[in-house]
């Protein structure tokens, strides 16, 4: 090594934070461009498939046949590309250190374009976020960034993609912080702002500085009108719940069907969507032109109600049947229709003067977004960005908070997280994502796990209990467990003469578990509910057991901890003596 050459080379070498800064801008541009291309591709596909004035036959055939194609693609090649893309992006950020396989953005782009372009009632924003995040993840790997840096690119790309897809840069930043990171005080705020701005500049340089909606000027006609907005908040909360519960219910039914039907499920949804499109073609695809009409008071009460119900049903079917597309746009659509309907009713029947129904449609958009997506700050700023009118804040906050509270009370888990739970993924709730705990379940657990096969006989389990002092064992195989059995269960079974029965009949499935990042306090609380054994499971697959915690493992951990402290104490004493 030459001592003279090293300092020059060191100066030339780009430090990681410089690379990160450059990548932030480049990824923002690429994510923004991908979002614009995604939008253009959906429009082009829609024109190609439906033409200008489609026949009834086309309404049926296009979503059905295209869903057969996307069903095959999603089943065989891109299983991670189903649904919105926002929950998957959250999983990548929180549980996989920002890792998204390279095929995911490509798959999401293709299947998203085919699904939304063929008439499925879904949004383009969620897929745009996943595509942008997927691109960022791949680029992060090319540059061999540290895991923390690679992880940081996910919200950066999400903000950029959303900023380009919806043309609201501030709301995009808040969405990345509030929904993806789950922390409004995250250190990444600077990067997300930079990415959002860079992306929206690129988007506007291509598509022009046109807002998605031409929104009428907002006026609060009378202070008593705030009551009307409170009513809108209640209705918004109820519609949000209906949407969330309906979606989870129907998706649960689809997921319970045999695995082999998974390939055809999108087409099943496609047939129903085709029938709906014959009667209500306005629910096709993203549907922002009809949101624009509602915002300008251009729809009659019966039309508003019809579109609200039809969109709710169509979106639930499209999403639950496993197509690729988001719920961001449908939630805004539902909000505009529900808000517009409330506005018309208030205009007719309220005993005080009220504003135009369009103003209610506008607030309704934010209200449903707060109720379904559960990102209240994003929803407030998104509507503010659309209107650029400060007056909208107070009614919007009233309606949003009521809707948010109702939705949260009756559906404590957010929709995105509930969807993940249906896929056996337990994402940490925002409040527990980064708790200031010193000891976690992962530190305490014993990694050696004994799994007894469910095909084993009861008498074999009894032998296992006799060999050790454990009060319970996990049942399962190949690292995946399905339940547990206790010593008392096995002893009772032997006494009742069923010692030759397979163990599967005794399995207990109703028990508590923890994840490796859970605190020791939660571990102790949940261990008290179980029969002396607490499984520690993966967040990405709750059937995958990573370790177990028993009273003995806790004692071992505490003893080990105590010994380490004893080693430190004398030196401190010596320092004090000095």
């Amino acid at each position: 090594m030459s001592g003279a050459e090293l300092p020059i080379v060191q100066k030339l070498r780009l430090r990681e934070n410089h690379i990160f800064l450059a990548l932030t801008i480049l990824i923002a541009i690429l994510a923004g461009l991908s979002a614009v291309l995604f939008t253009l591709a959906i429009k082009g596909t829609s024109y190609l498939l439906f033409g200008i004035a489609p026949s009834y036959l086309r309404y049926i055939l296009v979503p059905t046949l295209m869903s057969l194609v996307t069903g095959f693609l999603l089943y065989k090649f891109f299983p991670d590309a189903r649904g919105s893309g926002v929950p998957q992006t959250e999983v990548a950020y929180h549980l996989r250190q920002g890792y998204i396989p390279g095929r995911v953005p490509l798959g999401k782009f293709i299947t998203g374009v085919l699904c939304i372009g063929s008439g499925h009632s879904m949004g383009r924003e969620g897929p745009s976020v996943q595509i942008g995040a997927g691109i960022a993840s791949s680029i992060g790997r090319w540059f061999h960034l540290s895991p923390a840096r690679a992880q940081s690119l996910i919200p950066v790309a999400s903000a950029a993609a959303l900023s380009a897809a919806f043309n609201t840069p501030v709301a995009a930043v808040l969405f990345a912080l509030e929904e993806i990171i789950g922390d409004m005080n995250a250190a990444l705020i600077g990067s997300t702002v930079l990415a959002s701005v860079a992306s929206v500049i690129v988007e506007r340089s291509i598509l022009g500085n046109n807002p998605i909606f031409h929104v009428p000027q907002y006026h609060l006609v009378d202070p008593a009108e705030l009551i009307a907005y409170a009513v809108l908040g209640i209705v918004g909360g109820i519609v949000s719940l209906a949407f969330s519960k309906g979606l989870l219910w129907l998706r649960g039914i689809f997921l319970a069907m045999p695995q082999r039907t998974r390939i055809f499920q999108p087409a099943m949804g496609g047939v129903v969507i085709g029938v709906i499109l014959i009667f209500v073609p306005q629910v096709m695809g993203v549907g922002y032109e009809f949101v624009g009409q509602a915002l300008n008071g251009g729809l009659l009460l019966k039309t508003l109600l019809l579109l609200c119900v039809a969109k709710l049903v169509a979106t639930i079917i499209s999403y639950a049947s496993g197509n690729a597309g988001g719920i961001f746009a449908p939630s805004l659509y539902l909000g505009a229709m529900a808000g517009g309907a409330i506005g018309v009713l208030m205009h007719r029947f309220a005993p005080f003067p009220t504003g135009d129904p369009g103003a209610y449609a506008l607030v309704g958009m934010g209200t449903l977004f707060a109720g379904i997506i559960r990102a209240p700050m994003t929803s407030v700023f998104m509507i503010f960005e659309l209107t650029q009118d400060y007056q909208v804040f107070v009614p919007l906050m009233i309606a949003n908070m009521i809707s948010f509270a109702i939705s949260k009370h009756y559906q404590p888990t957010t929709l995105y997280h509930a969807l993940l739970q249906q896929d056996h993924v337990h994402l940490p709730a925002p409040g527990v994502r980064m708790p200031p705990v010193r000891t976690r379940a992962g530190d305490i657990m014993a990694r050696e796990v004994t799994l007894i096969s469910p095909e084993a006989l009861v008498e074999e389990a009894l032998a296992a209990f006799a060999d050790g002092d454990s009060q319970a064992y996990l049942v399962g195989k190949d690292g995946l467990f399905s339940g547990l059995i206790t010593r008392s269960q096995v002893e009772q079974a032997v006494q009742s003469g069923t010692s030759k029965a397979p163990l599967a009949v005794l399995i207990t499935r109703d028990f508590a578990h923890v994840h490796p990042d859970h605190s020791i306090e939660l571990v102790l609380e949940r261990l008290g509910k179980n029969p002396g054994l607490l499984p520690v499971v993966s967040r990405t697959d709750v059937h995958q057991v990573l370790g177990i915690i028993t009273p003995k493992t806790i004692i071992n951990f505490l003893q080990k901890n105590s010994e380490e402290q004893d080693l430190v104490q004398p030196s401190q004493g010596e320092e004090k003596a000095i």
Binding site: E5, L6, I19, L26, L37, Y47, I52, F143, H144, G298
Partner: protein, 380 residues
């Protein structure tokens, strides 16, 4: 050895960043190209929808036209022509709030555009909002026009404004707009007749007469001009002036039920007026006596009102007054001077007025009423 590995690191980071930048630029160019292509496609589709909308409007199917124009504006966001067509269709379909919203939005981007202001004016006129309608009509009249025959279009719009003002009983505003319209009027009989009618509606009979006369001069076979000039002259009390027009109108339309009685009445007014300047004292006396006699007969022919009735006592009093005056006017040596003639005409006027309830007056009685009115009730 380490010196050799560091350039590789350099190579990786810098080259990757450069490659990524080039790729980003390439994607940007590609996306721009795709966007332009998409916009051209959308523009073509929007034009198809616009044409369909126009066809629906022509066929009177406003709701379908609205849907078609909506599709056109959805596919071509910035096209003012399509947006304006949608706004106008919305107005036709009574979706006024949305139409106004759209028009105001258009006006924000182009406040001087005549077409946008016209549409807003018509919408305000539809709602009966006079001030706003006049505001937008004025903005349109003095705004920016496009296409051929701009002056003609402006004139038509001003006429529309005048008609609106007349409907809203804003006669003074209408008259002042008419004066502006008159200044730029094409030199044809039809134009003068048209504006003369509007002047009549606005209550400006002098300008109405002027335009009817102009029209009659340019085309003496124009029935409307001749009859109009005759009627307005008659209304203005210029009976001598009315007669030639009325005669000409009658020649053009001998069956006219309106012109003939007017002509007869005008001739009677001229024949019965005792204050006509060309009369000798003797002729004046004869006319006064004849008029008084005719009025007495009109009163006598009147059915007797209930006794004690105020009208009855008034008629009795007038009759007594007339009978007392008759001998005084009858002297051949001392024919009535101008004051006495005026006084007598005043009595005749009051007698004719009092006999208003006595049935339809004859042409001569009608002429006496007009003579009395022409001389301002002729109070001595």
């Amino acid at each position: 050895m380490e010196v050799r590995t560091i350039p590789r690191v350099l190579h990786n980071e810098v080259v990757l960043l450069v490659a990524l930048s080039v790729a980003a630029f390439g994607v940007f160019v590609f996306t721009r190209h795709m966007s332009a292509r998409e916009q051209r496609l959308e523009a073509r589709i929007a034009a198809i929808w616009y044409e369909r909308g126009e066809q629906f409007i022509a066929a009177g199917d406003v709701e379908k036209a609205i849907q078609a124009f909506r599709r056109a504006t959805a596919d071509s966001h910035d096209n003012q022509k399509y947006m304006l067509a949608l706004a106008n269709a919305l107005t036709l379909g009574h979706h006024d709030a949305e139409a106004q919203q759209l028009l105001l939005q258009l006006r924000e981007s182009d406040p001087e555009d005549a077409e946008i202001n016209i549409s807003l004016a018509r919408l305000a006129a539809k709602h009966g909002d006079t001030d706003e309608a006049v505001h937008y009509y004025q903005n349109a009249l003095y705004g920016r026009w496009s296409g051929d025959h701009v002056d003609e279009q402006r004139g038509q719009l001003r006429k529309e404004l005048i008609h609106f003002l007349l409907r809203r009983q804003q006669r003074e505003l209408a008259a002042s707009e008419l004066l502006i319209l008159e200044a730029g009027l094409p030199d044809s009989a039809a134009s003068h007749v048209e504006i003369a009618k509007l002047f009549v509606d606005a209550g400006d009979l002098q300008h109405a007469l002027k335009n009817y006369s102009e029209a009659a001069q340019r085309d003496n076979h124009n029935l409307e001009a001749q009859a109009g000039a005759g009627e307005i002259s008659f209304q203005l009390g210029n009976y001598a002036g009315a007669i030639p027009y009325l005669k000409a109108a009658l020649e053009l339309d001998p069956q006219s039920q309106k012109t003939r009685p007017l002509l007869e009445t005008a001739e009677l007014v001229l024949a019965e007026d005792p204050l006509a300047s060309h009369l000798s004292p003797q002729e004046r006396q004869d006319r006064i006596l004849a008029d008084l006699d005719r009025s007495l007969k009109r009163l006598d022919s009147c059915p007797e009102p209930a006794s004690g009735n105020q009208a009855s006592s008034e008629m009795q009093s007038l009759k007594a007054e007339a009978l007392a005056l008759q001998p005084k006017l009858n002297s051949r040596k001392h024919p009535p001077d101008s004051d006495a003639a005026k006084s007598a005409l005043g009595l005749i006027y009051r007698m004719q007025k009092a006999s208003a309830h006595c049935g339809e007056p004859a042409a001569a009685d009608q002429a006496l009423l007009l003579i009395g009115r022409q001389h301002n009730g002729v109070r001595p």
